[in-house]
């Protein structure tokens, strides 16, 4: 048998080996039955010497006969030092591996596993290594007790093979609370058996020892493309808000690598995240800068509500948001816009306009052309979104908000807009009235009540169709305050950004734009 000779402790305290012990019948003892060559001598240089390094390199590369070294290990003339075993192991054929595993050197996994492991990942993909080791090691592990099984699996687990995956799976299940088993989770990931995705996700997500969760997550990372997305994406999405920053960060990075991950990450932008994790999500998404085209007021002034919205969107997206008023001259982008646009390779133009009036039909194409020229010069794409009023989701949100308010107040609502020109605008107003379930009233900015003269206004909710306070909403307020009306005078509802639900909708939608 090959056995590690027991060290003798001499007087000087320095460890020496017993003189070499030669087995009378090495073949019978399981040592490979190569003809014994009398010239096979082993003279391993001192640890740390360059000669030893070169000897071991030659052994590792198969340039010298391994039998002499095996024999020297067997007869005890050589100590089973890790560097020697590490050099010897890769070159063994199946019969020698079987002999080695049957020897006392393999009675416990520690020595061989420690020696082999550093090179094993590269070796395990070699057909010769697989041929030599896989079946003997499987057999060896199958008959070992559970503690020794755990010890051998770091080697065995690097062979991708259904039988190995099953063994790993069973061992992980059996030893869920054993720290030694947690290191097998990355190996289970390497096996890339789709059915293990759920286990790895569960161990990463559910409360448990942090180290186990990390290892499960690494298993998910190493087999990333193999796991069913239906299991993986929700699991990783849940981990984005994990209290452990390393787990959350890794979940973000894994999601970012998935084809559908960007959608999940964009949803994450609107969740309550640790600032560092939010920054990581933003880095992964590389959102494009937004240009929000808004109506603006006299002199290009932009109402505070819109400025606050832009700031909130920018903070969540981690990308500049530029507010451009229709009434202002072409604005100069802040210096961060173009670098961010280059990183995202795009800039997105979002007209926050609610009706297809003259601004949408004339000013918007003109401004879009200007942005087209500017983005082309910067080598980035211009992404154009339709004007906000045309978004079905926006219309639905608006309809829902108005319906809820009408029901709550038991009043009917009218929505007010400034006069519009053209058939297209008229058709749109008709369409929107139908969607909102309440009629529209066209009324001039300077005297809104004049436009409402034909309307019964008792117990009425008046909704100026504007995101932020404008001339129409302000004049309407003033006129109503000064008008003498019945007790049930109409109530003017706030501009749309003053509605919590609508602001949230707009914030979420803008934040989640690519």
């Amino acid at each position: 048998m090959i056995r590690p000779p027991a060290p003798v402790q001499p007087q000087d305290g320095v460890s020496h080996r017993r003189p070499a012990r030669v087995d009378a019948h090495p073949a019978a003892a399981g040592v490979p039955t190569q003809p014994r060559r009398s010239d096979l001598t082993v003279d391993l240089a001192e640890p740390g010497s360059e000669r030893r390094w070169q000897q071991l390199q030659q052994l590792r590369r198969g340039l010298v006969d391994a039998d002499a070294w095996l024999q020297a290990l067997a007869d005890g003339s050589l100590a089973p030092e890790p560097d020697l075993l590490a050099a010897l192991i890769p070159g063994l054929d199946r019969s020698r591996v079987e002999a080695l595993l049957a020897s006392e050197l393999a009675a416990e996994p520690g020595l061989l596993v420690k020696a082999a492991l550093p090179d094993w990942p590269a070796r395990a993909v070699q057909p010769a290594c697989r041929e030599a080791w896989l079946e003997p090691l499987l057999h060896h592990v199958a008959v070992a007790d559970s503690v020794h099984q755990l010890g051998w699996l770091p080697l065995l687990g690097l062979f991708r093979e259904a039988k190995v995956a099953r063994l790993l799976r069973e061992t992980v299940h059996r030893h869920l609370t054993a720290e030694a088993a947690w290191g097998l989770l990355p190996l289970l990931g390497l096996q890339r058996q789709p059915q293990d995705g759920a286990l790895l996700v569960r161990l990463a997500v559910e409360p448990g020892p942090l180290q186990r969760r990390h290892q499960a997550l690494e298993g998910l990372a190493l087999g990333l493309s193999a796991w069913p997305q239906a299991v993986l994406v929700p699991g990783l999405s849940a981990l984005v808000t994990d209290l452990d920053p390393a787990v959350a960060a890794k979940a973000v990075d894994l999601l970012a690598r998935l084809p559908v991950g960007a959608v999940a990450l964009r949803q994450g932008l609107t969740r309550a995240l640790d600032p560092e994790i939010l920054a990581r999500v933003q880095r992964r998404l590389r959102c494009s800068p937004l240009v929000l085209l808004v109506h603006g007021r006299h002199g290009g002034h932009i109402p505070d509500e819109l400025q606050q919205l832009a700031a909130d969107v920018a903070a969540r997206r981690g990308a500049p948001v530029l507010l451009q008023a229709l009434t202002a001259a072409q604005s100069t982008p802040d210096p961060e816009v173009w670098p961010a646009a280059r990183r995202a390779r795009a800039l997105t133009l979002v007209p926050l306009l609610l009706l297809p009036g003259g601004h949408v039909r004339s000013d918007l194409p003109r401004l879009a052309s200007q942005w087209q020229v500017a983005t082309r010069a910067q080598g980035v794409a211009l992404r154009r979104r339709p004007f906000l009023g045309a978004w079905p989701a926006w219309q639905a949100a608006l309809a829902q908000a108005l319906a809820r308010r009408q029901e709550l107040d038991q009043r009917r609502a009218l929505w007010l807009h400034h006069p519009l020109q053209g058939a297209l605008a008229r058709r749109f107003v008709g369409h929107l009235s139908a969607v909102l379930g309440c009629p529209a009233v066209s009324t001039p900015y300077e005297s809104p009540l004049r436009g409402l003269a034909d309307q019964p206004l008792e117990r009425t909710l008046l909704q100026p169709l504007t995101l932020a306070a404008n001339r129409l909403s302000e004049t309407l307020d003033l006129e109503l305050q000064s008008a003498t009306m019945a007790q049930d005078q109409p109530e003017v509802l706030p501009p749309l950004l003053g509605w919590t639900d609508l602001r949230r909708f707009l914030l979420t939608t803008l934040v989640q734009l690519p």
């Binding site: 305290g13 094993w120 970012a256 690598r257």
Partner: protein, 501 residues
């Protein structure tokens, strides 16, 4: 009889690794364990992708950064790639003015290569038997002492050597460098062009055969040829074509260029290369080998006036050349905010921010990042060079970078040094950390200490990259790491004039 090809040569002959580029997404989907072994461990290196046995499943990508020049936009792309790897991600500045990224998944490769291409970066042919990143004067174009701007020359050589008709199956790796200043020490390269005069005309003398390995270390020797600057790409191609055809493919430990030079004799080798060069329409001129490189490399750290009036470069010490994603992104920001957006990497594994106007210096020097990457690091830290070590390399016998950093920090606490001392740390006899070039060289080893085998370092002393270059020689064959600081303290006091604090 045709000699039998080794396994590596067979793999290379069978298929070029560049052909794997289009298959990367599919290979990633299948998992690295399903890759053909030769694809995994050999051919992917043609794309600059390295399987790392120490971190199975987590790959390395080595860039090509000609002359060590990188732009902020490019560095940000790389920072993003490292950032995606979380705590597994890092980047190393290499001794070839290059960057290598660690911790990447195979899934990252196709998008990363695409993103790199979009900003003008490539990792092509940066590993295995290829012409490696071509180095030049890190101060090219800004150096008040410049003899010649090496950037266009390095770029032209790279373009020529990566062209479709250039060799793709060399017998061994091949290092090329172009000198452009009096301190361009390049004799560790297989092919080095050193600035030299011929009849008063500026050009380059050709040096060949420098290399370090486990078996042998040699400095390049004069080939006694002189070239004009515009001839360098063609001559480099001729050298590589001849090497491809004539180099040793039987024994990889005897396949570096120096062995071919020795096999043919210097005169025979020169004749063969000249014949190859003539097929490209080139003609070189005889030369005595004297050149204008006269002293050891400057540290380039701190604030330095550029050749352009009013502009400065600021050299920052990167401990052991190791970067993380945040550091990379911040360096890019600083380069953009305070300079022209350009950065340089040095062979001493440090980074330079260039084109900083005088007025911007105070703001740059006040940046928090400079607490980590100091413009004025200690006399040892400034010049400490290290290979990657056992954290990522299975050959390394010690964790080189962490050991070097802790020992250097400890020594700087204990000692005052009158001048910087260049220490080169390497994990094994393969000598990637160039220990023979250091005034002090350290090589990972094992040694017996108190009855146990322990991590240790061999100590080499006396490397000199000045006018009379020489390699460091063995001083101590194995100091346990636990005693290394004490041993080096003594050495620095006795041999380098250090004073104990």
């Amino acid at each position: 009889m045709t000699p039998t090809l080794s396994r590596i040569e067979q793999a290379k002959a069978e298929r070029c690794g560049l052909d794997l580029a289009a298959e990367l997404p599919a290979l990633a989907a299948g998992g690295w364990e399903n890759l053909d072994e030769d694809d995994l461990t050999i051919r992917l290196k043609w794309l600059g992708i390295f399987f790392r046995p120490v971190t199975p499943g987590r790959f390395m990508v080595r860039l090509r950064l000609p002359n060590g020049v990188i732009q902020a936009d490019q560095l940000e792309v790389l920072a993003e790639a490292v950032d995606r790897c979380g705590s597994d991600g890092s980047a190393d500045i290499t001794t070839r003015q290059n960057l290598q990224l660690r911790g990447l998944l195979l899934e990252d490769m196709a998008p990363l290569l695409q993103a790199m291409e979009a900003v003008g970066l490539t990792s092509r042919q940066s590993g295995h038997d290829n012409p490696r990143n071509i180095t030049g004067n890190p101060l090219a174009g800004i150096d008040p002492e410049e003899i010649v701007d090496t950037r266009p020359l390095v770029a032209a050589i790279q373009t020529r050597l990566l062209a479709a008709d250039a060799p793709r199956n060399l017998p061994r790796k091949f290092n090329i460098a172009v000198g452009g200043a009096p301190d361009s020490f390049l004799l560790h390269n297989d092919l080095a062009y050193l600035p030299a005069l011929r009849d008063g005309q500026p050009g380059f003398t050709v040096m060949v055969g420098g290399f370090f390995s486990a078996q042998r270390n040699a400095l390049a020797i004069p080939l006694h040829l002189w070239l004009r600057a515009e001839q360098l790409p063609g001559f480099s191609l001729a050298v590589l074509r001849h090497f491809e055809r004539s180099g040793n493919r039987q024994a990889r430990n005897k396949s570096r260029l120096m062995y071919l030079v020795e096999a043919l004799g210097l005169d025979g080798y020169r004749d063969a290369v000249l014949a190859e060069f003539s097929t490209l329409g080139g003609e070189a001129f005889p030369h005595d080998g004297h050149h204008l490189v006269t002293r050891a490399p400057r540290s380039a750290l701190g604030v330095n006036a550029q050749s352009q009036r009013g502009l400065h470069w600021v050299g920052l010490g990167v401990p052991m050349g190791r970067l993380d994603a945040a550091g990379m992104a911040e360096l890019a920001q600083l380069a953009r905010r305070h300079g022209s957006g350009e950065l340089r990497l040095t062979e001493a594994q440090n980074v330079l921010i260039v084109d900083v106007p005088e007025a911007a210096l105070p703001a740059l020097l006040a940046e928090p990042l400079l607490q980590r990457f100091s413009p004025e690091p200690g006399a040892l830290m400034a010049e400490a060079v290290s290979c990657t070590g056992s954290r990522y390399c299975s050959f390394a016998l010690i964790p080189t970078k962490t050991t070097a950093q802790s020992v250097v920090e400890e020594l700087e606490r204990r000692l005052e040094l009158p001048h910087p001392v260049r220490t080169h740390w390497t994990g094994c006899p393969n000598a990637c950390g160039q220990p023979y070039m250091g005034e002090i060289g350290l090589m990972g080893a094992k040694a017996r200490h108190e009855g146990q085998m322990v991590e240790a370092a061999k100590v080499f002393v006396g490397g000199d990259m000045g006018s009379d270059p020489r390699l460091a020689e063995l001083h101590d064959k194995g100091v346990p790491l636990s005693q290394l600081a004490d041993a080096l303290e003594e050495l620095l006091v006795v041999r380098f004039g250090a004073r104990r604090r």
